[in-house]
């Protein structure tokens, strides 16, 4: 039996299972989306709403449910090997994302932040009825970002691409300046301030040994890690010992970070499987 045959059988079996669940599910929940109307908005309905008779099948959302399930399975198929189903799903995600970001960029950046500032009356009539039609005194200044934006697009013309370096320099300069101050305040100075903690914590009843240990361990860890990154002195003797302890602390930190990352990835897998089992196939634990 060729691999192609195995794949075909597997896919047909899955489709058959999904279709049979859709038609044979006693609660008629599999493969369907139910909605109810609340204050003019269509929201997802649950079993209680269906029993109360206020829910109805939403055909467009049901089609969306099937498309979402199919794409999830297409993406999962990459775990076996690269294949055309995965490629189709991947290309669709890339294409849809690009289109989404382009539309979002137009309606959240160009229209309200540029055109609405330069031509408020026209934009109010065309797209933003809530906008004041009066031109603000500072509105005319928005001609500057318009010119910078056009200069940035000069990158597309090879003979004039050097023009795009000017707005690029402006973007890099302002971003660097903005971030430098924020990092100095929030990360550098504030973190040093946060490290000034008592090594021995006194309470009304005496010494809080656990808190004292935590504070001392934290300070020792900070200093050890700093020693590890201090290369002006050769790491020998006591310095080497402290530096080695610093490496251990760093390794534990990386381990904790890896653990947290794994947790995040498993949560992503769980949500997709929950979607397939519960929302699409209506297979629920009893």
């Amino acid at each position: 039996m060729t691999e192609r045959t195995v794949w075909t059988i597997l896919i047909l079996a899955m489709i058959a299972m999904a279709v049979s669940r859709t038609f044979l599910d006693p609660s008629q929940s599999a493969g369907r989306e139910y909605v109810k109307q609340v204050d003019g908005n269509w929201v997802k309905a649950d079993m209680i709403d269906r029993k109360a008779g206020i829910a109805q099948v939403s055909y467009d959302r049901s089609v969306g449910l099937w498309i979402a399930a199919a794409f999830t399975l297409c993406i999962f198929s990459f775990m076996y090997r690269d294949n055309p189903f995965y490629k189709v799903a991947e290309s669709t995600v890339v294409g849809v994302s690009a289109a989404y970001y382009m539309v979002v960029g137009l309606w959240t950046t160009l229209v309200p932040n540029l055109l609405a500032k330069l031509m408020p009356g026209l934009i109010q009539q065309w797209a933003m009825p809530g906008l004041s039609p009066e031109l603000e005194p500072t509105g005319i200044y928005y001609i500057v970002p318009l010119i910078l934006g056009i200069m940035l697009l000069m990158r597309l013309v090879p003979s004039m691409s050097w023009i795009s370096l000017w707005p690029l320099a402006f973007i890099i300069g302002t971003t660097a300046g903005l971030r430098m101050i924020a990092y100095l305040e929030a990360d550098f100075l504030s973190q040093i301030e946060n490290s000034f903690i008592p090594l021995i914590v006194f309470t009304e009843t005496g010494i809080d040994y656990w808190q004292s240990f935590q504070n001392t361990f934290m300070i020792v860890s900070i200093l050890s890690c700093l020693v590890y990154f201090f290369f002006s002195i050769e790491h020998k003797g006591a310095v080497a010992g402290v530096s080695k302890f610093g490496i251990w602390i760093l390794m534990m930190t990386f381990g904790a970070m890896f653990g947290m990352t794994v947790m995040g990835r498993i949560a992503l897998l769980a949500i997709r499987l929950e979607f397939l089992f519960r929302e699409w196939m209506n297979i629920r634990p009893y």
Binding site: K44, G130, A182, M260, I266, L269, F277
Partner: protein
């Protein structure tokens, strides 16, 4: 014979690992495996900070995530909105993520429209939508909200929205809740909102597991509390549901705890795989030496 088994295991097709992980996550979901959650101090701090709010207080909910982080952050957002709705505070939603607006709408639909239909848009909650500019948005609205937000997500003039009247900047908020997936997110709220105005901004956050280790150093001075990954979501959910929901909560209010079952089994598998991989490595290297 022993050597042959070691070699076979060492060269095991990685797809068997994928399959075992799939089963480790799928079986607990199918069996509905759940474990009791004991909230840690971080979750209690977040809960207490929301509890401290009085009816009519203003809360900014920055839902800075998109569908790629929904698995971890959607349960947090749901619990935050539920908690705020129960506390009868005024909710101001916004996002710094282009993919964030559907997440806001989902949270509103899931909690407010479904279980709190008496809450009125514009009076009890408002969706300010997405604004581009990353940390620049935070930098501006911390001193002047109207500089960037002239309308809400529906295009209504912000001055015509009752709950926005009297709000000059984010400093007028009683609490800032950041549910964040990365950049821009919680870190930027700390850097550009909390740090320059430490006495005026109260900030709590719920973040992804990847981001959490980078943000713990901000606790407790720059961040009052931090919910890390699905574990933090499950703990906070336990506190909120335990206090405000009587009887069996809806499925939407159990998402965090429900996802901890697969977490446990998958983590056990991961520990087993790490131990097995290392054992095989040492067995192989000792055989090579001998």
């Amino acid at each position: 014979m022993k050597q042959s088994i070691i070699n076979k295991l060492a060269n095991l097709d990685r797809r068997w690992v994928f399959l075992s992980m799939l089963l480790a996550v799928a079986i607990p979901i199918l069996l509905g495996l759940e474990f009791p959650e004991t909230p840690t101090q971080q979750a209690i701090n977040v809960f207490d900070e929301v509890e401290r709010l009085k009816e009519g207080d203003r809360v900014l909910l920055a839902l800075d995530y998109d569908p790629s982080s929904e698995g971890e952050l959607s349960p947090m957002a749901t619990s935050f909105v539920l908690h705020c709705a129960k506390k009868k505070v005024k909710m101001y939603f916004l996002t710094l993520y282009p993919g964030g607006p559907p997440m806001i709408q989902q949270a509103i639909q899931r909690v407010i429209l479904t279980d709190f239909p008496n809450l009125v848009y514009g009076e009890d909650y408002v969706d300010l939508g997405y604004k581009p500019g990353y940390e620049g948005v935070v930098k501006v609205i911390i001193t002047n909200l109207r500089e960037l937000y002239t309308t809400d997500a529906r295009g209504t003039n912000i001055d015509q929205i009752p709950m926005c009247q009297g709000v000059e900047s984010i400093q007028d908020m009683d609490l800032l809740i950041a549910v964040s997936a990365g950049y821009p997110g919680c870190k930027e709220w700390v850097q550009y909102a909390k740090t320059p105005f430490p006495d005026k901004i109260n900030l709590v956050a719920g973040v992804t597991g990847v981001q959490a280790p980078y943000l713990y150093p901000y606790v407790p001075k720059q961040l009052i509390g931090l919910l890390g990954a699905i574990k933090g979501a499950a703990e906070y959910e336990t506190l909120v549901v335990g206090k405000y929901i009587e009887g069996e909560p809806k499925a939407a209010y159990q998402e965090g705890r429900r996802r901890m079952g697969p977490q446990l089994v998958a983590h056990l598998l991961m520990i087993f795989l790490i131990l097995a991989g290392n054992t095989l490595y040492f067995l192989q290297s000792s055989r090579t030496k001998s």
